[in-house]
């Protein structure tokens, strides 16, 4: 096998130039001929029924072509199953424009179609809708008594419910020397990717559609539309090569997709529907969650008792679940553990996966509680964690496929200067400010799924690799190209990766940090199969140039097969293609996880963050002045794009801890700060010195690449480390995120 030349090399994104020069097109930028524009009308009540829709003023606006709502929509599927998608939680999925019922504020209830976006939007504002309103409830805190166990389904397979109790928590907690009981809360958050949801549906004639969609899964949108409208899958083509950020919001097909298709089928025209920013607050969100912890340790710092309970909101129609409470039992070897995770159905839209779903939520409670216990023991927080380092996953009694968290702690602490941390209550002063230092562990499960790729070598000497997968900008295309290049010993320039089209080999939705592992492994396998095929063809070329060489006796390098023992014997790959009558030599391969083997291990990426905060003593203003995150995530395919992923995660961690929150008006049932002026994401002035360290980690178990994925791990340890640092400076534990101006007065 040739050595890796591309894998592990810092490469900038292959599509980067297209993006920064505006050549990369997004879903709302395909200006197909005779395009109509749809604007979504959203419900202004939370629960009830539409009584009447008065269209007169809307129809009178010049340019308006049609108004579509539940009374005049074309036929849609009847069964729940047909509205399901690859990320649908158990329940009865929401159906846009299906009937008169209103289930959440902002629910799409009509589509105004016009010749221009502006006319459609203005006309939509004139639609007069009357409702009968019913009582609703969106208050998580006052409904905890209604909490229930999540229903089981496909989602709970990937995001397992907590394991049963182990040991005797009550007894261990009662006898613990140092203990802490805490309650933690964060409100809803919305993904707010830069690119807003849009679908441009091209009506190709008789039941045939090409859709440019904003999605994290072309096949997912394809299946969804095919099922709802009873179209042949072959007649629905979904194209989404570029995605301007997803963060999970594109894991489920969004309303605008259904509505643009509905209008296109109704009018037999090309239709685009785009959301505006406030409409980006009308589908899924990270659920508001309330958590309770009770941790106890012995006098010498052994963590013996762990109790972690979470209550999250979900909608009335689906049980959205995430892994919030499972991680303490995996991170620490405590022998007495009880975990519980419950849902409270409210009159909201179903929550959705949002970057590191559950992980960021749970780790805040776990790691802030850990620091409180350490504090009561008079122990350094890092020392306390090392004392309770789990060499094996005690929650499932399995070994880790690999775990270099100890090295994350060591390298992170050293680079940060953890030894300079002062005990809580004796902070260093810098002018009006006091300094705090805090740390946290992070963990994210490695998910294994099947994926497929095709590789072909053509007469121009190019390796063309394809998959339906798409890329939110994280660098997946670049990494796949690097993987492919190495399998055939080609320079990166000789690889062309074709992507983001449902007609290409099937790919799962891209999320959960598994895309590199899943699709990257398929790319590797497909390229290896192609290599094999090329070799076999080369063997039977005229004159049998390779003699009796076996596959292991040759190298593939720069477009040639070279016999190792006698490098003068070479076969050009293009000659192999010529021999194949000029047709590209092609191989497809699926990456089917070896579930039997995988099941024997706990598979997770780990991280540790170290954070310094400065806090104005009188005004209580917090700034995260410095942070180091050390990550152990198996093989790092491309250190440049990987570092960017972790940096993005760290910034989002700062946001989670100190900035963003969707403000819910509980009387109106509406998120009121639904624009980027008032939904506060961090700005440059909020972000200071950030450092990323990748710790070496080898993993032979998880997948063909040994890569665990880095999409979410960079975010998880940041928020708890920030809150721990604030505690270190002030002696105040902040338990409601985000920490806001005023909270430390």
């Amino acid at each position: 096998m040739t050595k890796n030349k591309e894998i592990g090399r810092a490469r900038r994104r292959i599509e980067g130039e297209l993006k920064v020069t505006g050549q990369a097109k997004y879903a709302a930028e395909y200006n197909v001929p005779d395009l109509l524009h749809g604007y979504i009308v959203n419900a202004t009540i939370v629960k009830g029924k539409i009584e009447s829709i008065d269209e007169a003023a809307t129809r009178a606006v010049p340019g308006v072509v049609d108004i579509i709502h539940h009374e005049n929509r074309p036929k849609m599927a009847y069964f729940d199953m047909q509205y399901s998608d690859m990320d649908a939680p158990p329940g009865s999925p929401f159906r846009p424009l299906y009937d008169a019922e209103i289930k959440f504020h902002g629910q799409p209830i009509a589509l105004v179609v016009a010749k221009t976006f502006e006319a459609a939007r203005y006309a939509a504002s004139l639609l007069k809708i009357t409702y009968t309103e019913e009582e609703f409830d969106v208050n998580l805190k006052t409904n905890l008594d209604r909490a229930k166990k999540p229903s089981m389904g496909l989602a709970t397979l990937i995001k397992p419910l907590p394991p049963g109790p182990r040991g005797d928590f009550d007894a261990a907690y009662a006898t613990a020397t140092a203990k802490f009981e805490g309650e933690f809360h964060h409100g809803a958050q919305h993904h707010n990717p830069m690119e807003m949801f849009a679908s441009t549906t091209v009506y190709e004639g008789e039941g045939k559609l090409t859709i440019y969609d904003k999605t994290q899964g072309t096949n997912n949108s394809q299946l969804f539309i095919g099922n709802i409208f009873g179209l042949k899958m072959g007649n629905v083509r979904v194209i989404a090569p570029y995605v301007g950020g997803g963060f999970g919001s594109g894991l489920r097909p969004q309303h605008q997709l259904v509505l643009s298709v509905l209008a296109a089928l109704c009018l037999k025209r090309n239709v685009r529907v785009s959301m505006d920013r406030s409409q980006m607050f009308t589908y899924g969100h990270r659920p508001e969650t309330i958590q309770h912890t009770r941790f106890g340790a012995t006098a010498d710092g052994e963590l013996t008792a762990v109790n972690h309970v979470a209550h999250s909101e979900t909608s009335r129609y689906e049980d959205y679940n995430e892994v919030v409470v499972n991680h303490a039992g995996m991170l620490y070897p405590a022998q007495n553990v009880t975990l519980d995770y419950k849902l409270v159905p409210l009159d909201v839209s179903t929550p959705m996966d949002m970057r590191a779903p559950g992980g960021v939520t749970g780790m805040v409670a776990v790691e802030n509680t850990m620091d409180q216990v350490a504090d009561r023991l008079g122990m350094d927080p890092l020392e306390f964690r090392l004392k309770n380092y789990a060499e094996r996953d005690h929650s499932s009694d399995k070994p880790f496929s690999s775990k270099e968290l100890r090295e994350c702690y060591r390298q992170g602490a050293e680079s940060f200067g953890w030894k300079d941390r002062r005990p809580t209550g004796q902070p260093e002063k810098r002018g009006n400010r006091i300094v705090g230092r805090g740390m946290s562990s992070g963990l994210w499960d490695v998910i294994a799924l099947p994926g497929k790729a095709t590789a072909e070598f053509n007469a121009e000497g190019k390796l063309v690799v394809s998959s339906a997968v798409n890329d939110c900008g994280q660098g997946a295309y670049t990494v796949f190209s690097q993987i492919a290049a190495d399998q055939l010993g080609l320079p990166l320039e000789s690889v062309k990766f074709v992507y983001g089209d449902s007609e290409l080999p099937l790919s799962p939705i891209q999320g959960g940090s598994y895309t590199t592992g899943v699709v990257g492994s398929a790319v590797k396998l497909a390229c290896l199969a192609l290599r094999n095929k090329l070799f076999k063809l080369a063997q039977i070329l005229d004159g049998f140039p390779l003699g009796d060489a076996l596959p292991q006796d040759v190298d593939f390098m720069d477009g040639e097969i070279i016999v190792k023992k006698d490098p003068t014997i070479r076969v050009k790959l293009t000659d192999v293609v010529a021999f194949n009558q000029g047709k590209p030599v092609k191989a497809s391969k699926s990456n089917i996880p070896n579930v039997f083997k995988l099941k024997q291990y706990t598979r997770a990426a780990h991280a540790a963050s170290f954070v310094e905060v400065e806090i104005d003593e009188q005004l209580g203003i917090v700034n995260v002045t410095r942070a180091v995150t050390a990550v152990a995530a198996g093989a790092i395919m491309n250190p440049k794009t990987a570092r960017s992923q972790i940096l993005g995660g760290m910034v989002w961690g700062i946001s989670l801890a100190t900035r963003e929150e969707s403000l819910l008006d509980k009387k109106m049932g509406k998120y009121v700060n639904d624009d980027l002026g008032e939904y506060h994401l961090p700005v440059h002035a909020d972000i200071h010195d950030l450092e990323v360290i990748f710790v070496e980690e080898h993993d032979e178990i998880i997948n063909a690449l040994g890569a665990k994925g880095i999409g979410e791990i960079g975010m998880i340890s940041m928020a708890p480390a920030i809150i721990n640092a604030v505690y270190n400076a002030t002696g105040k534990l902040v338990t409601a995120l985000p920490l806001k101006v005023g909270d430390l007065l």
Binding site: T44, Y122, N432, R433, Q618, L663, K670, G677, V683, A685
Partner: protein, 338 residues
């Protein structure tokens, strides 16, 4: 956005003539008006573009030693103007603490005075709001009211006026020059914005058909001792939760004359003259400013999500007073902790 008529005015007289009518709007930088329009909150029938009025685009010295800021000079041009920087650095600082460079490049001085509140409910056409739709109610009183007033509010409206620039203009006692169908007049800054009372739909005392032509700054600029401290939910690009503009003159180490105005706490830039008189003759110490803060915040009252502002405002007044001693150590626009 509805269809509308558009006219471009090239002189003050042309603009005033064209501007007559209840649904006629002047447009300057458009950074506020276009948002309100697209969000379906306002429906102008006629748009009078005043950007062609060259006479309103200058900054000139006044015979009394003051400065006249044309209504159409952009916020950034004003902030970086050498005379403003030298004589009214407090004004520069407040402007630069607001919005973003791009917005300030379009936003004009006249428009800044007339920007509307950032209350969430005002911005949602489907929500009741006494300011937008008189008599419909005020959900903010019992709703999300972090951004809202702690002083001078009424049971009809608890919105705040969001401008930073105007906090300095209040402290500097600027004068607003306006021209309408009945001629020109001057409005003292303290009389320009109004409390909500029973008519929260009225933000200020400008007539619907009056054009702001200029803002006059009096000679006193507090260049030696001034400060603007803006506290907000992130370090840039957010409206003030509490902001304080401080200016004073020292004689033999004692305060001879002081001005303090607050932003983010009321329907108008908040000034209490008694607090300023109180400071006269006192040393610029934390205790003096704390005494002034008590007078400024007398009667302050919080709601569910903004009660913290009372204590925050108190501390910010003290800090701003102390920072004003040596303005050279402040970076303009920098968050207080850096």
């Amino acid at each position: 956005m509805n269809n509308f008529h558009y006219t471009k005015a090239s002189s003050v007289d042309e603009a005033v003539l064209a501007g007559k009518g209840a649904e006629n709007y002047f447009i300057a930088g458009g950074t506020n008006l276009l948002d309100l329009w697209k969000y379906d909150l306002t429906h102008p029938q006629k748009m009078v573009d005043v950007n062609g009025i060259e006479e309103l685009k200058t900054i000139t010295e006044l015979p009394n030693g003051g400065l006249r800021l044309g209504a159409l000079v952009t916020n950034n041009t004003t902030a970086y103007h050498p005379l403003v920087e030298a004589r009214y650095p407090l004004l520069s600082r407040t402007i630069l603490a607001g919005a973003t460079a791009q917005i300030r490049n379009s936003a004009t001085n006249g428009g800044n005075l007339l920007q509307r509140t950032r209350c969430y409910y005002f911005y949602d056409p489907a929500s009741p709001c006494n300011k937008r739709n008189p008599g419909s109610g005020c959900p903010a009183v019992e709703g999300q009211n972090r951004l809202h007033a702690i002083l001078g509010f009424s049971d009809k409206c608890i919105a705040t006026f969001p401008s930073d620039m105007c906090v300095a203009l209040a402290a500097l006692e600027a004068v607003v020059r306006v021209t309408g169908p009945n001629g020109s007049r001057e409005i003292a800054f303290a009389d320009f914005h109004r409390l909500p009372g029973d008519r929260p739909e009225l933000d200020n005392t400008l007539g619907q058909d009056e054009l702001i032509t200029a803002i006059d700054l009096p000679p006193r600029g507090y260049a030696e001792h001034h400060n603007y401290l803006k506290l907000r939910d992130r370090n840039s690009y957010a409206f003030a939760l509490v902001s304080v503009a401080t200016g004073y003159e020292l004689e033999a180490g004692m305060i001879a004359n002081a001005r303090i105005a607050l932003g983010g706490v009321a329907h108008i830039p908040w000034r209490v003259e008694a607090a300023e008189t109180y400071l006269e003759g006192k040393a610029p110490t934390e205790a003096s400013f704390a005494g002034a803060a008590d007078l400024i915040l007398a009667g302050a009252q919080g709601f569910e999500h903004n009660a913290f502002k009372i204590e925050l405002a108190r501390r910010t007044i003290v800090r701003s007073g102390m920072m004003a001693l040596d303005p050279s150590c402040q970076r303009p626009g920098a968050p207080p902790s850096l």
